[in-house]
Subunit: 242 residues, 2 copies
Amino acid sequence: MATIPVMEIFGPTVQGEGMVIGQKTMFVRTAGCDYRCSWCDSAFTWDGSGKDLITPLTAEQIWERLQEVGGTRFSHVTLSGGNPALLGSLGELTRLLAGKGIRMAVETQGSRWQDWLLEIDEVTVSPKPPSSGMHTDWGKLDELISRLSQRTDGKSVSLKIVIFDEKDLAYAIHAHARYPHIPLYLQTGNPDVHTGETDSHALSLIRRYEWLIDQVMDKDELNDVRVLPQLHTLVWGNKRGV
Amino acid sequence: MATIPVMEIFGPTVQGEGMVIGQKTMFVRTAGCDYRCSWCDSAFTWDGSGKDLITPLTAEQIWERLQEVGGTRFSHVTLSGGNPALLGSLGELTRLLAGKGIRMAVETQGSRWQDWLLEIDEVTVSPKPPSSGMHTDWGKLDELISRLSQRTDGKSVSLKIVIFDEKDLAYAIHAHARYPHIPLYLQTGNPDVHTGETDSHALSLIRRYEWLIDQVMDKDELNDVRVLPQLHTLVWGNKRGV
């Protein structure tokens, strides 16, 4: 049976961002990413610094570990990374979890397709804006979003774009015009993913959130959007595993 | 033509709470409430202190005012109060806004039915827990939730319960067991709706949010729920009209 490179399993905690913000969920964080975003808050999944954490686990072993950690206190699991969509082997896990009646969410930048994405209740596609230093393959994104938005079984897809500056906002306006019927979430960027200071960091992130609100409220190209901070950074700063 | 007692029209701003948290929206706040919650953050809508603000407006006049204030920078309107469901005359406004292609949300405690509720895209029903000092008529709530959840046209309904203490949590557990298929949002209470201090208030609300997260994560009766703060109080404290 194929294994999945797992870096962390933790929870239950709240999903801090995006379309299921606030949802009580367990997290399964996989290793590896095809991107190298300048401001990545989980660079340990791809820069080598977390390589000792990587544990190859089968779907059954992940389910056992979820129960060890979360007991009976969860009904929702979030697959995060890295980019979980690098891993075809996650299909075994999504089938197993669906069979247990677990609702699932995933976040991916939309650069790779996997058939198991069709089984995910809430797919957050988070293309990366200019501040990331990454390049978006719009053709690939078109196809992925088209396939996910054709689902008619109550499963949903959204776009989430992190905004650090006005170039990122212009990118978001382009994406919104390209996919007008896909719910769009704009998210405050976190410029310091290393500080251990919680309170002053939270207050500075709130000021960044206010800046983003002001920008979006002013633009009639961005009317049907949601603007959100990352709740977990407000509560726990950059602490891992919460 | 019937008029609607309006206290405030403002925006666009973000919806700070509940099922459409973060949504860019205009607010129309109506006067009057059948409740007197101990911790109400909009008591000026019912305690007489805001009576000079009340302006009787027709639906057409409200639409004009929305455009004066929001220009072309909105496609979503939130009806808030007080309890907007006291007002049958809002039906003229909801028809007018629906005709303009405006999406609408409303928040009501669920104590009164209005047929226009059926036209609202996102209905937040917020029954009030023990800390409010109010009493819930569960029979009435059953009927209202049943009527709203039978809609099949993509329109949605959720429950939102403010949590100050463990008695409120027990109330939320009861409500969740009673309406297991209605999405449930639990929200941090704001114990000081008058302070002008923003930063220290935000930090204390974040600690309250952390307490609520801890409580909910620990309870397997509250697995499929969302736990959220009020974003507007984090950004603007108790300031009105933002």
